[in-house]
């Protein structure tokens, strides 16, 4: 994804799409809305079908998976398949790696972006423009654009197959920096002045005043960046060689047989897919408010 998917200049869209928009109720003919419900339900069923199908496959035996006509209902092999997936793909380790990578990237991006946005907004210093442009230009250098030479840099550092290599190189963030810069600019100057009168230095001000105010932005950004980190593919593929350090999204591909010969265990593969998609989808469902806010504000 283009950096963390980050373009900052977005059209003006209201942020709080989660809230009910207060509009005067319009007169309408009663009962004429059933077709809207019907359309939506049909669309949702269609969109959900592949996920349901994959889940059903993950509960079937191999004989059921390969039966013709295809069997669309779940069966009784859920436990066996997920246990097989757990051992075969070393899921415990892969999920842990994904968790470390996603959390590391999200926390890292947020931390260094807050610091630099704070410096840019609250200080005058020589080279501020240069710093700003440097951060901006990272938008134009997503991973796919610097494949080979990034690999060289990481191996020069000896970071292949390490958590450092999986996280640190991805934590520069123009999007997050711009977001916090924008937010800090809306905080009234008088707050900083009052803090100064109370004898608070800049770091104290950042910690005790600015951060508590930024909390909703941090939460929203965390959700988006966590999903980004969890789903990143090209980076862990390049940076890891050992099975130990793979992430779960990469792990699936290794189970798909190429060429033939082996019997593809599609039920086990789908079980791994379910485990790989559960955490980010759960984050969206349970943190929907933050998710939508983060999505709209950072566009991604």
């Amino acid at each position: 994804m283009i950096v963390e998917g980050g373009y900052t200049a977005l059209p003006q869209v209201p942020v709080d799409v989660g809230a009910k928009v207060a509009r005067p109720a319009r007169r309408r003919r009663g009962g004429s809305r059933w077709w809207v419900h019907a359309g939506l339900i049909a669309a949702i069923a269609l969109i959900a079908f592949p996920l349901y199908y994959a889940f059903a496959i993950s509960t079937q035996s191999l004989a059921e998976v390969t039966s013709v006509p295809p069997r669309l209902t779940p069966s009784w092999h859920l436990w066996a398949n997920y246990v097989a997936a757990w051992h075969k793909a070393r899921l415990g380790r892969l999920l842990l790696n994904s968790l470390v990578m996603a959390t590391g990237i999200a926390v890292g991006k947020i931390a260094i972006s807050i610091l630099s946005a704070f410096a840019i907004v609250y200080f005058d210093f020589r080279g501020k423009q240069v710093v700003f442009w440097m951060i901006f230009v990272t938008l134009m250098l997503p991973v796919p654009v610097r494949i080979m030479s990034t690999y060289e840099v990481i191996s020069t550092l000896g970071w292949i197959d390490t958590y450092w290599g999986l996280t640190v190189p991805l934590i520069a963030s123009a999007t997050a920096t711009f977001l916090f810069r924008q937010f800090f600019q809306t905080v009234p100057d008088s707050l900083a002045e009052a803090a100064q009168l109370d004898g608070a230095g800049p770091l104290r001000f950042l910690w005790s005043f600015l951060l508590p105010l930024s909390w909703t932005n941090v939460a929203a950004l965390f959700v988006i960046l966590f999903i980004y980190g969890w789903n990143e593919y090209l980076w862990p593929l390049m940076i890891t060689n050992s099975e130990e350090m793979r992430t779960v999204v990469i792990g699936i591909e290794k189970l798909v047989p190429r060429g033939g010969g082996e019997i593809p265990e599609w039920n086990v593969i789908m079980a791994v897919a379910m485990m790989a998609l559960l955490p980010p989808v759960a984050v969206i469902l349970f943190m929907q408010r933050w998710f939508v806010k983060g999505l709209i504000e950072t566009e991604k």
């Binding site: 977005l10 496959i57 090209l234 699936i252 980010p280 709209i296």
Partner: protein, 293 residues
């Protein structure tokens, strides 16, 4: 512009240091590395680099394989963008009707965003599976078209397009819904009073008002299709059958990592850099124009 409040000689530098270091080491250094590498080619034994000038670029632009991947990328991006935007605009308009249970519907439409492109690809791969998948089975009942993505390039392309559109739905719908909800009800009512029927109201009033969001999503979906779908291709089709789904990013990776042609791969990276720079500029120029009118 906010005025700077704090004074300190070294603190601001310390604060921007982590971001600047990461940017320099992991973005600028590799980017210049790509630029440099794109002017070299490997010696026959692969042990050293020979300066080649613009050879890598001229060779690329004359290579049928590369041009094929350019075409693939454009076909893919076009299908993903237009297909995805059309479907999600339709659904957003439906979900924006004032109905009960809107929050529930919205949730039910958003979740595919959380699925990684590669995982989406694996799921659809099975739906499309020539022997066991449900789609080829259903199609075989009504038509005799050979619907086998392992053999037919267009089916493989359809497979990755479908997976990409599916994955992007939640994202597009979230933005369209936000845009639709920003349109004042009074504007629609005025149109209604003027006697415009719903279809006319949509095309004459809603759609133009929505155009900034549409344009924004257009650019973002093109970026997505070009730069964020590597995992999808790698996990599902690996560029095949033949080269039918080899998109630019996949080819750059494959040439560099698998075939060890560093110079060629770096030259492709440089071309991609130009593309993404252009898209970013487009995005920002447009956004600026809107802000200032």
């Amino acid at each position: 512009m906010k005025r700077a409040v704090f004074r300190n000689r070294w603190l601001p530098y310390l604060l921007v240091l982590p971001q600047v270091v990461v940017t320099l080491v992991f973005f600028f250094w590799p980017a210049f590395g790509s630029l440099r590498l794109s002017l070299y080619r490997s010696s026959p034994f692969g042990d050293r680099l020979i300066f080649a000038g613009l050879d890598n670029f001229t060779r690329l632009l004359g290579s049928a394989d590369y041009l094929q991947s350019v075409v693939n990328s454009f076909v893919f991006a076009f299908a993903v963008t237009f297909g995805g935007l059309a479907v999600s605009l339709g659904l957003a308009v439906l979900a924006n009707q004032k109905i009960r249970g809107l929050a529930l519907y919205r949730t039910a439409l958003l979740w595919p965003y959380g699925i990684a492109p590669a995982v989406a690809g694996i799921i659809w791969l099975f739906v499309f599976h020539p022997a066991y998948g449900v789609l080829p089975f259903v199609l075989s009942l009504v038509t005799s078209v050979r619907f086998n993505w392992l053999l037919e390039g267009w089916v493989a392309m359809l497979l990755i397009v479908t997976a990409a559109v599916w994955k992007q739905l939640g994202y597009n719908i979230a933005f369209f819904l936000a845009g639709l909800q920003a349109i004042p009800g009074s504007v629609l009512e005025a149109a209604q009073v003027d006697g415009a029927d719903p279809v006319r109201r949509f095309w004459r009033v809603v759609f133009p008002l929505l155009s900034p969001v549409t344009f924004f999503l257009f650019v973002l979906n093109v970026v997505f299709a070009f730069f964020e779908t590597f995992g999808l291709v790698h996990a599902v089709t690996q560029g095949g059958p033949g080269r039918a789904t080899e998109i630019l990013v996949y080819k750059a990776y494959n040439d560099g990592f698998v075939n060890q042609q560093l110079g060629t791969s770096a030259a492709q990276s440089v071309i991609l850099m130009v593309v993404v720079t252009g898209l970013t500029m487009l995005q920002f120029r447009y956004a600026e124009k809107r802000v200032t009118y």
